[in-house]
Point group: C2
Chain length 137, copies 2
């Protein structure tokens, strides 16, 4: 229970990688996949999600690739998670009420929702900037 997806980890690694390359520098998916050692195709999906969320920016064509779309202190871990996994739903009724058979008689939904909110606050408390400092320091 409560394990992050590989896609999220790929995305987080990619963002920190782009961050170390600086805001301007364009990096290809191939370079990142080779450097970090995971599937090019799959990382590509993660990058597309990050781009749609504005976290990454892309340049098409030969010499194209990705770069950061925002400064490192404007990107939180929560942003990356939402970009890649979509809105968080700690409980299945969050996706759609009829996903749970006992929705109407459930007494702990309120608690689970505040719990989810608190987890999001944790994720939002770390920016890519602070994450990089933590690693370096």
């Amino acid at each position: 229970m409560l394990q992050v997806s590989r896609k999220f980890e790929y995305g987080l690694h990619a963002v920190t990688y782009l961050a170390t390359k600086g805001l301007g520098r364009v990096v290809t998916v191939k370079e990142m996949a080779d450097e970090m050692g995971f599937s090019q195709e799959f990382l590509s999906k993660a990058m597309q999600s990050l781009k749609r969320a504005g976290i990454a920016a892309s340049v098409q064509g030969v010499k194209g690739g990705y770069m950061l779309g925002k400064s490192t202190d404007a990107i939180t871990v929560a942003d990356i998670a939402i970009a890649i996994e979509g809105e968080p739903h700690l409980v299945r009724c969050g996706v759609k009420a009829d996903r749970c058979e006992i929705f109407s008689s459930c007494h702990h939904r309120g608690y689970m929702n505040t719990l989810q909110h608190k987890i999001q606050v944790l994720l939002a408390a770390t920016t890519v900037h602070s994450l990089l400092k933590e690693v370096a320091g």
Copy 2:
């Protein structure tokens, strides 16, 4: 990402149900499953896990069933989660290092581990006692 399992929710509901029945009262899995509207067999597995963790106590034989194994303020949501899902591992390398191909070059493992710890603190902050008060109040 980050969704609790059905088994955990079954367990949480069962514990609060047992709590409202009082410490002494023995309740069968059948009664709980009927009352709360989910699979008897599956709830049974959750109860077995709760029993092994000491959260529930069982009485075998005819007239047997389950009751709480501890007082409601000695059981936290974290205890229930661990009883049912085992030790939490936010990242796959927590289970076993070789579950992740990039373990040796990973720079965000430290952050992920502190994040996991913080989530556990959140879960441990709520006792069944406080959860029941929240629902009632």
